[in-house]
Amino acid sequence: MELFGVSLVLYLLGALGALCLTGREAANRVGPAGALAGSLVGLASVFSTPASAASLFVLPWGLPIGDLALGLDPASRLFLLPVYVLGAACAVSGAASLGGPHEEHCGQDRRGPHWFFFNVLLLGLSLVMAARDAVCFLVAWEIMSLAPFFLISLHDDEVEVREAAWIYLVAAHLGAVCLIAFFAAFWAATGVTGFDALAIAARQGQLPGASLLFFLALTGFGAKAGFVPFHVWLPEAHPAAPSHVSAMLSGAMISAGVYGLWRALELLGPAAPWWGWALLGLGLATALSGILQALAQGNIKRLLAYSSVENMGLACLGLGLGCIGRQTGNETMAALGLAGAVFHVLNHAAFKGLLFLCAGEVLHAVGSVRLAHLGGLGKRLPVVGACFTLGALGIAGLPPLSGFAGELVLALAILSGIDLPGLLPRVGMSGALAALAAVGGFALAAFAKAAGLAFLGEPRTPAAANAAPAGRLALAPLLFLAGCILAAAAFAPMLLSLAGQAALAFPGLDPAPARAALAQAADILQSAGLVCLGIVALTLAVLFLRSRLLTAHGVRREGTWGCGYTAPSSRIQYGAGSFVEPTAKILRLPMGLSRRLDMDAGYFPARGTLTVTSPDQLKLRFFTPLFEVVARTCDALKVVQHGRVHLYILYVLATVVLLLAWKL
């Protein structure tokens, strides 16, 4: 806990130092240094105590409402893990990218504030995970929510960036409003603000309108985590933000939404039956729509953003399983669902952080992250390519990486629920498993597309052909995260039991069967690990054999066989639009693809253009019109301020008369 405090202070120092040094080169060293040091100390604080320990500190706090109560329990620690790991990696990566030669369009004087807000984001995230009081949590939450607005708008001379930053700000605030309502209503109903006191009050007295509170929490935290239909800010914000910020947002900040939902479920106590099913359904809908839209994207960062939506959906599914399990008394399902959710969040943070940082390197090297501009980068940026492939393998949930382990735990939780009493629960669970499988299949397609089109084949533009690898400083965080991922793959069972600590601390669970279920799941991961080991060993063996055989019989290098076509160019390669065409034929609506074919008239058109775009349909069809309707209504109502003073007097007169007639 002391170390945790030190890390907060380091963040604060980094923030203020960077702000004070605005305009000097040193800002780009002090800011990242603060973030790095704070993260490393924080990491030490997470590991310095046993995983199951819980601590609580109430510090003096100057406000008449709430308390400055901070504490670390297993759930906090686990959700802090991505914050610290990514905080360290992104600080280094950001220092490299903002200090490098790529930043000519970013005014020098903007780095001080940038690092200020980066440190503030880390500070806010740490406080969110540690807050044990509603008011304190809200303050931390808002600080955490506001900082990214400034981080996203680093390159605010581009109109898309401004637009994205604004969308982010609005989404974050609307979510926060729901949370304010949630905590205020909770506070008003119980009269206390401390988390422990709230939980006790909720357990003792039947909370009035608990379902409404749950709905508010789901909306508020869902807006942060990017659950459908509140995900619209993600695909806008991530491409606009600098990559180290995207990595931070996607890996750590949106996880805070899941964390918040976790806390809300803890606080609300005994769940109504529909909560778990609502979470399950929402999670699956989010995951499916997220991955389908990810598949449709032609911009790597947008693709990654939608993939984050998908993964948060899976985490929500885990929480839903936990809820259903707790409510039906199925401890196995509850423990595995909750542990699976945390496990998945951890995995996602590592993979997505790595992928976004790789995307950032691509952006620096090529100047674009649109798949139509990339290709063949694997040979030009070998480390980045390898890291991206590794991340893609992991995020698609393929063995032998721990992404598979996470999904397996979720699947085990579902499987333990297929003998629930009643037809509907069973059908629901089966549907969930099938949906999980579909998500896995589409994730594979999406990341095959991302990795394959960006890093393999021939470069599609001269910029991609001339891409130059980044410096060592920029590669260090990639390798660090890749190392984390490999370690996680090797120690997946241990990671699960770590995640299990959070599940065991969840109130309302019988620890003994839950512990047994977790132990069994760890065994299963062990066995699965054997198979994974088999895969690695066999691959190596086959590769060894292959190299022996080829040295014996010789290799000839030729051009790619063109199937008889003699003038191939890099433009005839399969592109982002064509790659998803078979899927789009069936699933155009959920993928949100729209295509336009412009062709000259006549039988032999000289020119034809096919444009395939994938705007967010929900934003296009729902939110934008909604905002327009509100704006138009307000405009129409503005006639009351017409500028004629005598009518203003009429308002006053009418008010008096009406009040007198009404009240007397």
Binding site: K638, Q641, H642, G643, R644, V645, H646, L647, I649, L650, V652, L653, V657, L660, A661, L664
Partner: protein
């Protein structure tokens, strides 16, 4: 007491007349009539004890409301060379209807309030409220800044009327405030009118609608 009631009825009539006349000069004269009528009120409703106070008040009202202000209005009128015809937003007949509605509303209001015995002479409360409502109707329903000032003054007169029975209660603040209000109406609005006419070559505040949403 009959005299008092006839003064009040006369005040109500003057109020309605405000709404019915079409020339600014007539309105200015009406304010003089109202001021003179109003000057009677403190005298008539004063108790036996404090005639001196009431006389002082009556004189002050006569000087300010009966003479000073109408004179100022007339002077402004002749100086500014405004179009002497009032342009209404709300037609004269409709304005009259509004005035009568104000009267009826005041009478209704009187039934809703328990009157402390001996404080208000009969008819004073509705007369005062009618004056306020017609004054504000004049502000609402007419174009020119001058009519708005006149309407505002009529409303002030109503408030003064309502306040007079309380003047015997020992506090001078009430009277002072009424007088201060008149001061505002005359001087501040007079200054503003001066600027308006200088800037716009007219005191038609109907053109004042450039600030809006």
């Amino acid at each position: 007491m009959e005299l008092f009631e006839s003064v009040l009825v006369a005040l109500i009539c003057v109020n309605l007349a405000y709404l019915a006349f079409t020339r600014l000069r007539t309105l200015a004269r009406l304010t003089a009539v109202q001021g003179i009528l109003l000057a009677w009120v403190p005298l008539l409703c004063a108790g036996p004890g404090d005639h001196g106070h009431a006389l002082l008040l009556a004189l002050a009202v006569l000087a300010i409301k009966g003479i000073g202000f109408p004179w100022l209005l007339a002077r402004t009128l002749s100086r500014l060379e405004v179009n002497p015809v009032i342009e209404p937003y709300l037609g004269f007949n409709l304005s009259l209807v509004a005035g009568v509605a104000g009267l009826l509303f005041s009478l209704w209001l009187e039934t809703r309030l328990p009157f402390p015995p001996g404080l208000f002479p009969p008819l004073l409360f509705p007369a005062a409220l009618t004056s306020i409502f017609t004054g504000l109707t004049l502000v609402v329903a007419r174009h020119k800044a001058l009519t708005q000032v006149i309407g505002y003054l009529a409303a002030e007169n109503g408030i003064f009327l309502l306040g007079t029975p309380l003047s015997g209660q020992g506090s001078v603040w009430l009277e002072l405030s009424v007088l201060l209000d008149v001061f505002v109406a005359v001087f501040v609005m007079g200054i503003a009118l001066h600027h308006i006419s200088k800037t716009f070559e007219s005191i038609d505040v109907g053109r004042f609608c450039s600030l809006r949403d």
